[in-house]
Structure formats: C-alpha cells, structure tokens
C-alpha cells in the first residue's frame, strides 16, 4: 500500500493537524509549563471558545475565526477572574498542588454544565464558506478546514513567542517561572505577572475553540478528549517552551497521520505516547526544555 503520494499526503496532513494541536496546547504550555498551574480545565475553555464561535455564527453570521479573535479580550478577562479565585483560594495559602487541581476540576465541570444548560447536548457544527473546500498542489490535497487552523495556530505561536522574548511583560513571565522571589526584589509583583500570564493562556482558548469547531462537531464534554493529548505535547516539547510546544505538536500530528495511513489508525495513540516515553527517557526535560 506504500506510495509516495500517500506518504506526502500523510506528512502534510500531519503538519496541518500539528498546527492546530499547537493552538490548543499553547495555553497549557503557558499555565502549566511556565506558571506550574495544572489548569486541567483549559480544554473546557477551548470548548467555550467553540460555542462562542458557534453562537456568533448562528445568530450574527460571524466568521468563526473573526469571533475567536474578537473574543480574546473577553477570555483574557475571564482568565483574570479565574486566576484571582485560584490565587486567593489556594496559591496564597500554599495549597495549590492538590487542592488547586481539584479547583480546576470544578471549573471544568462548571463550564461543561453551563454549556449543557445553554446549548443542550447535541453536537454543534459551524457553517463557513471554506468548510468542505479543498485544493491540490501536485498530488497533495489540502482542505481549508485544516489549513486555516494550522496557519492560525502557527501565527499565534509566533506571536506568543515574540511576546515572551521581546517584551517586558513577556520576559517577566519567564522570570516568574524561574524565580518569583528574585522578580519581587526587582520591584515587580509576581502575582500580577502570573495573573497576566494565566489570563493570556485562557485568551488563546478563544482562538483555539474557533479552530476546533472548524475541524469538527463539538459537544460540551468533548474537551476531555484533549486533556491527555495537550499535556503530552507540553511535556514532550519541554515545559514552558513555546517553540518546543510547536515542534512537539507537529511531531505528534505527523506521527499520528503516518501511523493512521500505513499501520492502522488504532496504533496512532500508542505510537505517539511511545515516542513521548522514549524522548523523556533520553531527555527528561523534553525536546526543548532546560
């Protein structure tokens, strides 16, 4: 069954889905990788982003990508509120490890139930002109449904990378992940920096959710399917490394795609997590971790 045509298509499909994985994983990379906050509710915020895109598309005819972009400030504000609750309830008291995890489980359920009550339990899809369209470059077929999420994922990754490496707040976020006490001695409030970073991670969920509903139908609890995958990507890429998250997303996407094409799709998770184990055995800090 092997052919060059299949191989090229599998690699391109893997890269495309990898770009999307990056968009979904970036928020976790910031919150878990940089801030050490195990925000297990992040996929639920992604689904909230999907439903926001769905509602704006259904009632006002907005393009999902536009909605994703427009709602990033709203999600940022939501992130500020969630972090404030987390900080006051757990982090300030030094109870963030286990009780903080329970808190985010609670947030996950609250978001799911709220969506359930508002939209019901049916699967929701979105209408956009480019969904269902595709084009060919030589033997390689590319679907807009997958190309756009990939491009947007790449753009968000680059933007976040530039923000973290070139701006004052970005460097402060990196500093808070390394030594918050030292940051305080420099006259910067680490709690404020963490709040900004966490809110930023939730803001990415708005765009990631819009991309998710472009790719396929969603229902309120579908975010749980992504929890294992996104944490695996962050660990594989190296905790807190944005470029590592992108690389790991593409690696995972390509490996899944190649496995699904040539060895049977049921092997895809086993091969992906096998690679994660091998990488962690060789480089415990992940591909780009320090």
């Amino acid at each position: 069954m092997f052919s060059l045509d299949l191989l090229l298509n599998a690699i391109v499909a893997g890269i495309l889905i990898g770009g999307f994985y990056a968009a979904v994983s970036l928020g976790i990379s910031v919150s878990f990788g940089l801030l050490d906050i195990v925000n297990i509710a992040h996929p639920a915020f992604v689904i909230l982003g999907s439903y926001t895109a769905y509602a704006m598309n259904r009632f006002f005819g907005f393009d999902p990508l536009l909605t994703g972009l427009l709602f990033t400030p709203v999600f940022y504000a939501l992130g500020v509120v969630v972090y404030r609750l987390y900080y006051l309830g757990f982090e300030r008291k030094g109870e963030e490890s286990l009780r903080g995890l329970v808190f985010f489980f609670g947030v996950l359920f609250i978001v799911e139930v709220a969506l359930l009550l508002a939209y019901g339990v049916d699967y929701r899809m979105i209408e956009a002109r480019y969904v269902g369209q595709s084009f060919h470059i030589g033997v390689v077929g590319i679907a807009f449904r997958l190309l756009l999420p990939c491009l947007v994922g790449l753009m968000v990754t680059v933007a976040l990378h530039l923000f973290l490496s070139k701006t004052f707040y970005g460097r402060a976020i990196k500093a808070v992940s390394q030594d918050s006490q030292a940051l305080r001695l420099m006259g910067v409030d680490p709690v404020k920096i963490k709040r900004i970073a966490f809110a930023l991670s939730i803001a990415t969920a708005s765009l990631a959710g819009a991309l998710l509903i472009l790719i396929g139908p969603v229902e309120p609890s579908i975010g749980r399917e992504y929890i294992g995958r996104v944490f695996a990507i962050v660990v594989l890429g190296g905790m807190g490394s944005i470029s590592g998250t992108l690389a790991a997303s593409v690696i995972l996407g390509v490996v899944e795609s190649l496995t699904a094409t040539f060895s049977g799709p049921s092997w895809a998770p086993a091969v992906s997590f096998g690679i994660l184990l091998v990488v962690l055995a060789v480089r415990p800090a992940g591909l780009f971790g320090r």
């Binding site: 299949l6 499909a13 339990v121 209408e127 899944e256 795609s257 049921s266």
Partner: protein, 425 residues
C-alpha cells in the same frame, strides 16, 4: 345582643368549618382510594456523551405516561416515572437501580439508553427475576440469555448481522456486482459489534475485504484514514462510527474525493437533525441505517401524531427537533410494558414477562414481537440513501424524499442511485 350576636357568629363559624371539612373529605375520598401510582423506574443519560438521545428518550416516555394517565392509568392506577441521571456512565447504573428498587420501591424497571448502561443492569434484574425492558442495547443478552429481557431496537434476533444486512443485500444486487469492500469503525463497543457482522456478511456475499481498520474515538483528523482506504481502491466502504467521527469521515471523504460505489452503513449521528442540517448536501449518496423515516411506506398508526406532539416540544426542550430515531422507540418500549400490565391485570413480573414473550404488540413503531433472546423476532433495520438534500433546512428532513428506503423490500420507497458519485451530482 352582643352575646347573641357572638353566639350566631360562632355557630356560623362552626357550621362553616364542618361544611368545609365535609367538602374536603368528599374531595379527598376518591384521591385516597385512587391508590398508589404504578412506578416505573430507570436511569437515563441526561448528561454525558449520550445525553442528547437520553433527554429525547425521557421526553417520549413522559409523553407516554401523560397519555396513559389521561386515559385513567394502568389497572386504574396512575403511572409515575421515577428516574435519575446515569450520566452515561455504566458505573452509576447499579447504585441507581438499587435505590429505585429498595428505596423508591418501583414496580417495574426499564433500562436507560444504550448498550453500555444496559449491561450492568442484568445482574440486578436477573437476581430478582425482574422484567427488563431494554432501550437500544446491541446484543446485550447474547451470552446471558435472560428470559425476562426485551429490547426495542429493531435489529432482529441476531443484532450484529441484522444491523448491516441491508447494506450488503443492496450492494449485492448492483450490476456489475461490487467485488471489494473496506471496513472501518471506531475502537468502541458498538462499532466493534457492527464490524463483526459486516465481516461475516462480506464473507457470505463474496466481497473481498481490502481494508479492515479501527481508529481511536479521540481521532481529530480522518483524512489519513480516508486516503489509506482510497489507496486500496474498494468498491464499497462500510463505516461504523459515532457522531463526531461520522461528521469527520464524511467531510474527509468529500475533501479527498472517495471514488467508491457505495459508502456508509452504520454511521450513528446521521439520524439526527444536528448533523443532517450541518452536513446538508454532502450527505447525498450516503447509504445508512435508520429505524424510522417519514417515507410513505413506513407509516404506523399513531406515529405521525406522536411526532407532531414531540416536535412541538423538542426545540424548547433542547433535544433533536426531528425525533425519528430514539423517541418513538422509547415511547414504544414503555407502551409494550403498559399493554402487558393491562392484559395480565397484574404487576407480577413473571406473568408480565411471559405475556410479553408470547404476544405481538401494536405500538407506534408498528407490530413488535420478541424472539426468545429478547430481540425483535425479525429485523427491521432500514437501509436508506440520502437523496435530494439541499442546504441546511431542517424541514426537508421532516418530509418524504430525502431518506429513501432501499431495504427491506416490504418498506422500500425508492431506488438506489448508484454509484455514490452519481448521487452527489
């Protein structure tokens, strides 16, 4: 005068109280005598992955209880549904049913929706020799052979085979006869069972299996799978999938351009308005299973009235606005239980079970007769083809013409547009 006046007031007050008490007593007497309700207990998926179907099923069951109570109840007693959310979790089932039986003291139990929540209910029902009405369980009783189990999904006495029989019967009649088939499905309970049947049919009908694969339910992109299938150049593709994969596979097939002669078979989700309206014309040509479609050949007494009432309430309740899949059957499985109670004039589990086993029932999904294993005595899985679907208007799916019945012959309402690519034009 004042004293007399006071006495008069007191007398009037006492008389008023007496009359009031008598009036209340008169009003309460029949209510007290109107006996306790007959309680039917169940767990239902009101949250979780299958909640869409669970909520619609519950609504239909409540409509049945309402209908029965309007007519005076069962055996002169009102019917009461006692239910809890099983969260689509099999692990929640034993606790729910133990409470229903031991605390709520229900008279009968019926299952929640789906194979996975029916399975853990068997030990409880078998231990107490209870009648167990099943709602859309696939081959749950194959190994247990519990005599008091009756399942309403019309997949016939051998569900794994009955499920895909129509797809293969229709394919085998085409000229020139297809030679090869690809089988693909999610790595989960239902697709596993459906693919077992499909493999056996492929062997019996003489189709060569050129691809046989399963994918994890968490798969996001289906294009690599569809490309791999395309590379094997099959004439037929049989898919056993759940709603999110169904949408992903159909979209990927469109984008890749799957040049097959027949495509579909066991795709869950295409029975609901949510996917039908969003996939729209992409559905044209897909051949898939159904249990009820509004074709003129598939018309049972009471079904149209039921659907009209259901559809009027559905949007407000946030459930499937068509209600063609689960709701009529969830109405029917309690309808059968009610008819058996009335006929036997008893709440005795053994008598009711024996009656259900021995008799045929007229329901809103037609005549129902059970085989010894509790499945329908004869399969009535419809194989339909999506034709003439345009845009995303839900109204087109409420009328005949968009899902034409190809099999069984008794219910046939149109002919297959063959090959798949022709129906898409």
């Amino acid at each position: 005068m004042a004293w007399h006046g006071q006495t008069g007031t007191r007398r009037r007050w006492i008389v008023g109280v007496l009359i009031g008490v008598m009036a209340l007593g008169t009003a309460w007497a029949p209510a007290a005598q109107a006996a306790e309700p007959i309680k039917i207990g169940f767990g239902m998926a009101l949250t979780g992955a299958l909640a869409g179907n669970g909520k619609a099923a519950l609504m239909a069951m409540q409509m049945w209880a309402e209908d029965v109570n309007k007519k005076g109840g069962l055996l002169g007693r009102p019917v009461e549904l006692v239910y809890y959310d099983d969260q689509t979790k099999p692990a929640a089932v034993p606790g729910i049913y133990t409470k229903l039986l031991d605390v709520d003291k229900v008279n009968f139990i019926v299952s929640g929706y789906g194979t996975n929540v029916i399975a853990p209910l068997f030990p409880i029902a078998m231990e107490r020799n209870l009648v167990l009405m099943g709602l859309f369980g696939m081959a749950n009783n194959e190994k247990l052979k519990y005599k008091n189990y009756f399942q309403i999904m019309p997949s016939g006495p051998n569900p794994a085979l009955g499920w895909s029989q129509g797809f293969f019967e229709v394919a085998a009649k085409q000229q020139p006869k297809p030679q090869t088939i690809a089988l693909v499905g999610a790595d989960a309970e239902y697709p596993h069972n459906a693919l077992v049947g499909a493999r056996e049919h492929a062997k019996n009908f003489g189709f060569k299996v050129v691809y046989d694969g399963k994918y994890p339910p968490s798969t996001v992109d289906y294009t690599p799978i569809i490309r791999a299938i395309k590379a094997t150049n099959p004439d037929l593709v049989y898919v056993a999938s759940y709603p999110p994969d169904t949408a992903g596979i159909i979209q990927a097939a469109q984008e890749v351009g799957l040049p097959v002669k027949m495509f579909g078979g066991g795709m869950v989700g295409l029975q609901f308005a949510a996917l039908q309206t969003k996939l729209g014309s992409k559905l044209n040509g897909v051949v898939n299973y159904e249990f009820y479609v509004p074709e003129p050949t598939v018309n049972f007494p009471g079904i149209n009235e039921f659907l009209a009432r259901y559809q009027a309430q559905a949007e407000k309740a946030g459930v499937d606005p068509l209600g063609h899949y689960i709701p009529p059957f969830s109405y029917a499985y309690v309808q059968i239980l009610g008819q058996a109670v009335e006929a036997t004039k008893s709440l005795d589990q053994k008598k009711v079970a024996e009656y259900i086993q021995a008799n045929e029932f007229n329901t809103i999904v037609g005549k129902v007769k059970f085989a010894p294993n509790g499945e329908w005595a004869k399969s009535r899985v419809l194989m339909v083809q999506f034709q003439n679907v345009q845009g995303s208007d839900v109204a087109q799916f409420k009328k005949a013409g968009t899902r034409v019945v190809l099999y069984p012959e008794d219910w046939k309402s149109g002919t297959l547009i063959y090959p798949y690519s022709k129906a898409q034009k």
